[in-house]
Amino acid sequence: MKRFELIAVLAASVVCSAAHAEDSVTIGVHASFSGAGAAFAEGMLAATDFATEDANKDGGLDVGGKRYKIQFKQYDDRYRAADAVTAMDRLMIQDGIRFVVGPMGSAAAVATKDQTTSGKVITMTLAFTPRALGADAPFAYRPVITTGEFSDPQVAWLMKSTSAKQVVSLLPNDETGQQIGVANFNSYAKAGTKLQVEYFERERVDFVPILTRILMKADGLELGGNSPTTAGLILKQARELGYRGPVFVTGGDVSAEMLKVAGKDAAEGTYVHLPIDTGLPDTAAYVARFKAKYGQNMNGFSPFFYAGLQMLFTAMKKAGTVDDTTKIAKTLDGLSDVPTAMGKAGWTGEQKYGIKHQIDLPFYVGQIKDGVVTKVATCDVNACK
């Protein structure tokens, strides 16, 4: 992100919150703006920036015949559960915010779940843990597609395509990593492949000792679930050690940042989860808008949050209120085929999570070829083709 653009967005968020207009709605962006996941947070912030900009175009969001100016304010949880709770307290109690883009990490989502549920705060989380959603969290929504949705069909397709039989995975030793580790292990087992999961402390940057051991017998390396920076570092160091086997990144969209860290040569041939199809005109327009404003490739999660906010604003309009979050949530639950930047979206997940708060959109498998991610398969929750 261009520095001055980021500073401008940050400044705007502060100014917006300071000048709290009477007919206004503030969206809190609760994410890890510092730490290894900052690229995700920047994507979430940019989505909120664009969504509010669009909503304010004609004088504000029209709800019940009244125009509401949408503004946003950011809160940094520094990728730590304790800081996430503090940030959520500030957001809810100090600033009285009822709509949140975030929490970002699984640990943060789990740690703040009780707060947001009791405060009836509508959240749009990036957390991959299944515990982020549920009947006990009626105000928590997830506008991104997670490992729980894409892991099984993607892994089945990848194992069929590469014939890997013994895959190793490196994941951070925290709530996020452990949940993804279990999900990945099960998905690989279903595909008939043994997955060995190795955990490391999140602050670790030198993976060579671990890689020296785990790559001895492996014919596949799974990096899904790591931050883009970490995935890039592991990939770079694995290639330095002479590993030439296939690499899979089945979790999250890490391609742009991972390519920057690992370099084009090390990343060549890597299979990645591709959350968006830039062949769709609206998605391509969003990508171009991001590039034009921030001067760099966007994180693939960003348009999902934009789509989530589009759905939220639609629900506010239909519910005719910006204050009654119970009514807004109920309206949001009933939305389907909402035109968004990612295509027509609705909600799914009742069977898996006990509540229909998981966004319903197609997803893709990509492969890095000469520094560019190319779509190689299109998937839904049942299969990739």
């Binding site: 703006f33 510092s34 940057v205 030198d206 000792p209 020296t212 883009p228 330095e240 002479g242 920057k260």
Partner: protein, 291 residues
């Protein structure tokens, strides 16, 4: 892969990480030994050095040697300013100096975040390829780190052992008041020691930038390691920092390779606890004289 090969690779990995820790810990322990300040901003100078090198060598494609000199020099200048503005007021005041250093660390880290962004950036390798000896693969990028760090440590040893300023630093570390009575200008030695420590951290950052990646958040882990190492080696002891750094690097490498990454962290802190219990002054540190 045979056990001999894995063993050799594990040793090389441990030496590389250990030598970086040595560079970090020497600067950290020197500042403590001479100024009595536990400088938790030390890792941020590592980060600044790495960032400047990434900008000069990676983005602007300047010659390697020029990039190294400019990155280390500019970071040293930043260190000098910080010493003049902040740290000189806390000389000998360990607790307040430590708190001030945490503040300086946060200021430097967040300034870097605003200036350079949160995204990690990579630096093109200074050398590429691997050295293959009898089936053992050593990435050249890592061997360069080991060689660079050895050169830095030997140079520092010569500076401290055989130059006028080095002798003055040792004298100030032993007793600053007596040193001043002997005509040593402690007002020059304090900033000189601080800048030397900062330069070593910046050089460590420069060496590691092409091997790892560079972001505003890379300073914390080396600072914590440096702290652990100087506790093991002995606060204020340069030889202790060398022994402690290599020990931690090898523990990390062996435990990570043969057992698990989590156990390597546990082992390091078990060593720290054992040293604190059995030899509180550190492996090569001296006991504080009681008044």
């Amino acid at each position: 892969m045979s056990m001999d090969i894995i063993l050799a690779q594990t040793i090389v990995n441990g030496l590389m990480v250990g030598m970086i820790y040595v560079l970090m810990a020497i600067g950290f322990t020197m500042v403590f030994g001479i100024m009595r300040i536990v400088n938790f901003a030390h890792g941020e100078f590592y980060m600044v050095g790495a960032f400047l090198f990434a900008i000069l060598y990676g983005s602007n494609e300047m010659p390697f040697a020029v990039s190294v000199l400019l990155a280390v020099g500019a970071t040293a200048l930043l260190g000098l300013v910080m010493e003049w503005v902040v740290f000189r007021r806390f000389r000998g005041n360990e607790l307040n100096g430590m708190i001030a250093s945490v503040g300086v660390a946060l200021i430097i880290q967040n300034s870097a975040l605003l200036m350079w962004g949160a995204s990690a950036r990579t630096v093109p390798p200074v050398v590429s390829g691997v050295l293959s000896v009898g089936g053992i693969v050593f990435p050249w990028s890592r061997l360069v780190v080991i060689i660079g760090a050895i050169v830095a440590v030997v140079s520092l040893n010569l500076l401290i052992g055989y130059t006028r300023i080095g002798r003055a630093m040792r004298a100030v570390a032993q007793d600053s008041e007596i040193a001043q009575v002997q005509g040593i200008r402690v007002d020059v030695i304090f900033p000189a020691a601080f800048v030397l420590g900062v330069s070593l951290a910046a050089f460590a950052g420069v060496l590691m930038a092409p091997v790892l990646s560079v972001s505003p958040f890379i300073g914390l882990a080396p600072t914590l390691k440096a702290f652990v190492i100087v506790v093991i080696g002995g606060l204020g002891s340069v030889p202790g920092a060398v022994v402690g750094g290599l020990l931690i690097g090898l523990i990390e490498s062996f435990a990570g390779t043969f057992v698990s990454a989590s156990l390597s962290e546990i082992l390091q802190f078990l060593v720290v606890i054992a040293v604190v219990l059995l030899r509180p002054q550190g492996l090569l540190g001296r006991k504080e004289r009681e008044a």
